[in-house]
């Protein structure tokens, strides 16, 4: 075991943000376009297993085959499978700060059959439950950010 010496420990803080220009590519770009222009969620379907891919992409990772362009429009309604809420603000590397997002974070099964992670409008832990029905609440402005064109998922009646 190494003993800790008592000398002063010099530290060098470096805060260098790294800028990026990430591309969606054409398949995910299709989802972006439909979300931006029509507030719609679309994806493509695997020709082999017939499952919807998510996000849309040119291959099915499960069947390991090319997926092609069997595009499908999905409902923006779904069911909450799991949720959790944040108690402690966590560092968001894309923001560059601690973010105390006060919306619960949920895994949602869309009626089309794909899972996505998003925020829930309902903040009251007492009212949160797995199985609750939700629907996307779309941004009215500045769309073009894919799933972030959805503000959050609001609770809907059964």
């Amino acid at each position: 075991m190494v003993k800790e010496p008592s000398q002063e420990h010099i530290k060098i803080p470096i805060a260098m943000s790294r800028p990026y220009r990430w591309a969606t590519g054409r398949y995910l770009g299709k989802l972006y376009k439909e979300a931006r222009d029509n507030k719609k969620l679309v994806t493509n379907r695997c020709p082999k297993c017939k499952e919807l891919l998510w996000p849309p992409r040119p291959v099915c990772g499960r069947c390991k085959v090319e997926a092609g362009e069997d595009w499908v429009e999905m409902s923006d309604k779904g069911t909450v499978i799991q949720y959790t809420y944040l108690v402690y603000p966590l560092w968001d590397p894309h923001v560059g700060d601690r973010v105390a997002e006060d919306y619960p974070n949920a895994t949602i099964l869309l009626d089309g059959g794909v899972y996505l992670v998003h925020k829930l409008e309902e903040k009251d832990p007492e009212k949160l439950k797995a199985g609750m029905r939700v629907q996307a609440v779309w941004k009215e402005e500045e769309r073009g950010q894919g799933l972030n064109d959805i503000l959050y998922f609001g609770t809907i009646e059964q």
Partner: protein
């Protein structure tokens, strides 16, 4: 045709949140020196070096290059692997492959993370990019919280069971001088009093952010027998990756998918004649970032039936003195220097097989042990170790 490979030396630093006293290369150097001392070798006996580390955690591009002057890479062949949390396990696998291949007689495998240099949750959240999942990431915490909530519902496990896992881990950690969190916890109630980080995960339910390093030295059979009279053989290893089709970052939050752990265990056991893991294997060190995860891993690795993981802890089966000890070192929930973590699992299994684990040596005579690693989205590495070939 392939050479048989043995672990002939292991070494680790003590693990803490912060190591302000040492630079990153100096910290890694401690583990390398410890492994060399354990093997009674010098650096010139080392023919190759394989490194596991996740660069985003420290914000260092090509971090292995920065170690070259002080951690033994200078003028040696080797490379770095980065497979998320399993990086250290992958480094052991590649080191083992290169020795087995006959390309090198010895290999030094290094895993390290100096998490005092950055923000771990931030680095894990950066596993998503803004084009898919911006602002939705909650580090590993969010994933494990969701898995815990599902597991609770599906299996009937309770928060008390999770607390019992935590208590077991702490008992092990307190007997392991290198462990990070050595809390001296005394009761389940004490754990249930700790606050929620992210429901249902409590502060004491989740692993710490540790800074530390671990090194193991591998040697081909002929060399190994010269170096030590207690070689620990790498009988087999397997790596399986899993794609998160159901929006998980680690596996599948819905529990509906086949897990990489399940595939890895099935194949590894089959080709090594293991039909009853809890009988044919003597102990395990797993990569369990939360106590909830440990109960799930019991199931994924076939140590018990589905939804019965909590029964193992309830019956004390996985305690140090138990029938099938798991994580006698205190495990990942006590110590998690990410890149080093899977290497520590392998090193701890080797110590148990040698009978050199000191105060946390398990009661059962360990002839066979399995060390596992977990990386995102759900990377599984399993290393099967044996006292006899």
């Amino acid at each position: 045709m392939a050479n048989r490979v043995a672990i002939v030396g292991v070494g680790q630093t003590y693990h803490k949140s912060k190591r302000p006293d040492v630079s990153q290369p100096e910290m890694v150097n401690e583990a390398v020196r410890a492994a060399l001392a354990d093997a009674q070798l010098s650096m010139k006996d080392i023919e190759s070096v394989f490194v596991g580390n996740m660069e985003t955690f420290e914000g260092i591009y090509l971090p292995d290059h920065g170690l070259a002057d002080e951690a033994g890479l200078f003028m040696k062949p080797g490379f770095k692997v980065a497979t998320g949390g399993s990086s250290g396990g992958s480094a052991v696998v590649e080191g083992s492959n290169f020795v087995a291949s006959g390309l090198f007689r010895t290999a030094l495998v290094i895993g390290f993370e100096k998490q005092d240099a950055g923000d771990t949750t931030g680095a894990i959240s950066a596993a998503t990019t803004p084009v898919w999942g911006k602002g939705m990431a909650r580090g590993a915490l969010g994933e494990f919280a969701k898995q815990a909530s599902t597991y609770m519902k599906q299996s009937g496990a309770t928060e008390e069971h999770a607390a019992m896992v935590r208590l077991k881990a702490d008992r092990g950690a307190c007997r392991n001088p290198y462990a990070h969190l050595r809390l001296g916890l005394e009761s389940v109630e004490e754990i249930l009093k700790s606050g929620y980080l992210m429901w249902p995960l409590r502060l004491l339910d989740f692993c710490p952010q540790s800074s530390g390093a671990c090194a193991v030295i591998l040697a081909a059979e002929e060399e190994a027998r010269k170096i030590t009279n207690k070689p620990v053989w790498i009988a087999d290893h397997i790596t399986v990756h899993q794609e998160p089709f159901r929006a998980g970052t680690f596996g599948d939050p819905t529990g509906l998918e086949t897990y990489s752990e399940d595939v890895a265990a099935t194949k590894l056991y089959k080709r090594n004649g293991i039909s009853n893991p809890r009988k044919d294997i003597d102990m395990a060190e797993t990569y369990e970032p939360s106590n909830w995860q440990e109960m799930m891993l019991y199931e994924y690795y076939h140590f018990c039936e589905k939804n019965e993981g909590w029964k193992l802890i309830e019956k004390g089966i996985t305690e140090i003195e138990g029938e099938f000890p798991v994580n006698p070192s205190g495990g990942v929930i006590a110590t998690n220097p990410i890149g080093a973590t899977p290497v520590i699992r392998v090193a701890e299994c080797a110590l148990q097989i040698r009978g050199d684990a000191g105060e946390h040596q398990v009661t059962r005579d360990v002839k066979t042990a399995v060390a596992t690693a977990l990386g995102g989205p759900n990377w599984t590495v399993m290393v099967l170790l044996r006292r006899f070939l």
